[in-house]
């Protein structure tokens, strides 16, 4: 009879507009929108319609009918910006959820960036900015941190511990976890201790990735079968189901029955199995079962669960090198527009689009990319970088 901890990530990047090379040296309206047509709005509103609205309403319903239901959300600042601009009703909906007191909001970097890997000061600044936004919109102060794409390492834990969080979420990677179960609470291998919740990848990905896969042995997945798999865990264990919010309605379309599945899952888990839903801050109160020592960064992405989706090739490495080398200069300008552009250019998705890894992961990458190829993503990003550099001169 394990506990279940749900956390969903809400993030949409601000994608680059096709800024022409021949505008370097003069002003453009925005790096993310050049003309009347706003592609970011088109995409955001589409996803809102398919996923954000229906799933948030469903969650609101479940909170109303199931007094013991609780879960966590993490909302990137870039997501909140766009929600405010394009779909303000979403903010109202989110506020009503948070008001129930049973929806925990997590802390993350405002720009859904990779700053944790490149700059401690920038990392802290973006976390602070995000915190401020949560306070302003929802009146809450988060106590648990989740890094972009669950990226984690001992060094990152050290930074997060300094910021006084009670704990952090990340991935259970066998090469560091060994054969210990991901359903225990662990502690970081750092001086100042941080408690960690690890994603139960199997059960999370059954929903996030395999749910509509017709070649999957368990397709179509029944709630009964799914809950059966939880039975191997004891009452002292917590199954952490972490996934993108867009799983519901966007990655898995409504027609797959994902919404009905989720409703039945929550209701059956509570009433038939007496499973207990907990939020991360509650789950983290448990005593640590041991140290999770992660010398090299991990993430929840791809089969490798490492950073190669963002930093694996030269196209990514050189653009990242340049964007983070500008920190001092940008900050020194005290120019708010420049600073905002620089930070929006740090959103991890820009680098994800440049990924050239082969294998099955390539499909996932292509699905999310607005570009024809990783090369075009790099080319366009390089042009915008040069444009930004010129403004700095």
């Amino acid at each position: 009879m394990p506990q279940i901890c749900l956390y969903f990530e809400l993030h949409q990047p601000l994608r680059l507009a096709p800024v022409p090379l021949t505008t370097i040296g003069s002003e453009v309206p925005s790096y993310f929108r050049l003309t009347e047509r706003d592609d970011n709005k088109v995409i955001f509103s589409k996803v809102a319609k398919k996923s954000y609205y229906p799933m948030l309403r469903l969650l609101r319903e479940l909170l109303a009918t199931e007094p013991k239901f609780t879960f966590a959300l993490s909302l990137s600042g870039v997501f909140l910006d766009q929600a405010q601009a394009y779909e303000p009703e979403l903010i109202v909906l989110l506020q009503s959820l948070v008001k129930t007191g049973r929806v925990e909001l997590l802390s993350e970097t405002y720009y859904h960036s990779l700053a944790s890997l490149y700059s401690n000061t920038e990392f802290a600044a973006q976390i602070a900015q995000h915190k401020k936004m949560l306070k302003k919109l929802f009146g809450v102060v988060p106590t648990v941190f989740r890094n972009t794409e669950l990226i984690y390492s001992n060094a990152i834990a050290e930074q997060v511990a300094k910021l006084k969080y009670i704990g952090m979420l990340t991935e259970a990677v066998p090469r560091y976890l060994g054969d210990r179960p991901p359903t225990q609470v662990y502690q970081s291998a750092t001086k100042s201790q941080l408690h960690l919740l690890l994603k139960q990848a199997q059960l999370s990905d059954d929903i996030a990735f395999r749910f509509s896969d017709r070649s999957w042995k368990w397709f179509p997945l029944s709630v009964r079968q799914y809950l059966e798999w939880f039975k191997s865990y004891g009452p002292s264990e917590c199954v952490n189901l972490f996934m993108d919010f867009e799983t519901f309605g966007e990655h898995q379309w409504e027609e797959t029955g994902i919404f009905e599945f989720f409703t039945a899952f929550v209701s059956d888990a509570i009433h038939n199995e007496q499973y207990v839903f907990v939020t991360p801050s509650t789950a983290l109160q448990t005593k640590s079962a041991g140290v999770y020592d992660v010398p090299k960064p991990i993430s929840w992405a791809d089969v490798d669960r490492d950073l190669t989706a963002w930093t694996g090739n030269a196209l990514q490495q050189d653009t990242l090198r340049i964007i983070y080398s500008l920190e001092e200069k940008i900050i020194a300008t005290k120019n708010a527009a420049l600073l905002a552009d620089w930070r929006f250019l740090q959103t991890s998705d820009h680098f994800y689009y440049m990924c050239t890894k082969w294998s099955a992961d390539g499909d996932v990458h292509a699905y999310f990319s607005p570009y024809d190829s990783p090369f075009e993503a790099y080319r366009q990003y390089a042009v915008v970088l040069a444009h930004l550099l010129e403004r700095l001169e």
Partner: protein, 401 residues
């Protein structure tokens, strides 16, 4: 005695706006000037144009080879790596596909020629048009003028070009009554590689249409010194030497901005190398550009470099000069004959090119002097002069030598 031919049946391959490079531009400039000199022109193209030209009659000789011939009509002939044919690769190899495409074009052109018999001369541009022109000339018993804008030896400098294409070029040049080369550089190549008799070849340099330079403020207002390459990103065009040059110049002028404008089969490799060498913010790619974007780039460039390994002419260098940009071209380029004030270096001579670029970027006097000298040469490089010379070739061919 009116012995001057006035009707030309011209076999083309590409034409603006569906052009991949200089061939289409040259055909446009030449036919416009010929038309002004009272030449009646039929112009065939291997694809449906969807437009008409006021100065000549365009004959659509599109082949029915499915998607590719429509999507990439002119580009295929200049492809220098194996062509990927998603839908067809399983059935036929690219080589035979190209042969098939040229064969179909030949047939369609012959059909059209029989409907338009009132021409005095058949004029074909490059190898794709040679088989058609040879057949038409035979059928109509008219002289055949073969114009060479580029050969397989230029396009694939490694020497591993297509045998089929080389053979087609050879046969066309043999069958032709007269041959026009776009430069002395090309003339020598035709003599050496294809055994064309020296006195059968006339050299006609390309011209350039005069432009009114825009005085409007350009959005491309970077303060960095700009060094530009424009052309297909292929081995022929010497892109790798441009990249080496960029590295070297950047050591002396760190804020210089190098731009590669164009597309081609080395594109991805070049991107990798730029990123690998940490030059992402110093060497930018614009992709294939035309019209306004192209003008903005050339207008703003401080130096234009054309390090071609083998370049029959290199019209884009004239365009750059026309837009007040000092030009550096490789010795292996024909355009230098029409614009001797351009700086010249062997395509592999990075040392010399580095010196030349640095001097042009740092010494405004040198820069200005070269711009002025180039302009006077550009003003003499007119299409009407080229048309005059082409008509002289027609006459020689028409008179049977």
């Amino acid at each position: 005695m009116q012995a001057s031919p006035t009707g030309v049946f011209m076999v083309g391959w590409e034409y603006p706006p569906h052009n991949s490079g200089g061939l289409g531009v040259a055909c446009q400039g030449l036919t416009q000037a010929l038309a002004e000199q009272n030449t009646q022109i039929y112009f065939t193209l291997p694809y449906k144009t969807g437009f008409s030209a006021s100065h000549m009659e365009i004959l659509d000789c599109g082949a029915d080879l499915g998607v590719l011939s429509i999507a990439h009509p002119p580009f295929l002939a200049y492809q220098t790596t194996p062509i990927s044919l998603p839908e067809m690769s399983s059935k036929i190899s690219p080589q035979s596909y190209l042969e098939e495409q040229v064969a179909q074009y030949t047939q369609k052109v012959v059909d059209q020629a029989l409907l338009h018999r009132n021409s005095d001369v058949i004029h074909a541009h490059d190898w794709m048009a040679f088989p058609a022109a040879t057949k038409v000339a035979e059928k109509l018993k008219k002289p055949f003028v073969a114009q060479v804008h580029s050969t397989e030896y230029d396009r694939i400098p490694s020497g591993n070009g297509s045998n089929f294409i080389q053979q087609t070029e050879y046969e066309g040049l043999q069958a032709a009554t007269r041959v026009i080369a776009v430069s002395y550089y090309t003339k020598e190549l035709l003599i050496a590689k294809y055994g064309v008799p020296r006195d059968k070849i006339s050299v006609v340099h390309n011209g350039i249409v005069p432009v009114q330079l825009s005085t409007a403020q350009s959005p491309f207002a970077t303060k960095r010194p700009v060094v530009t390459f424009m052309g297909r990103l292929t081995m022929q065009k010497g892109t790798e030497f441009f990249l080496q040059l960029a590295q070297r110049v950047l050591m002396q002028i760190p804020n210089a901005l190098f731009i590669l404008a164009g597309d081609g089969d080395l594109y991805h490799e070049l991107l990798w190398r730029v990123a690998d060498q940490q030059l992402t913010a110093s060497v930018l790619f614009s992709g294939f550009v035309r019209d306004k974007q192209r003008e903005l780039l050339l207008d703003r460039s401080d130096v234009f470099v054309m390090p071609s390994v083998s370049e029959p002419f290199g019209l884009v260098a004239l365009e750059a000069a026309q837009r007040n940009t000092p030009v550096i071209v490789s010795k292996q380029s024909g355009v230098y004959e029409a614009m001797p004030s351009a700086l010249v270096a062997d395509f592999w001579d990075i040392d010399l090119m580095t010196q030349q670029v640095v001097q042009l970027l740092t010494d405004t006097q040198t820069h200005q002097t070269q711009v002025v000298a180039q302009q006077s040469e550009v003003s003499r490089a007119t299409w009407s002069r080229a048309a005059d010379q082409v008509r002289r070739v027609y006459r020689t061919a028409f008179l049977g030598k």
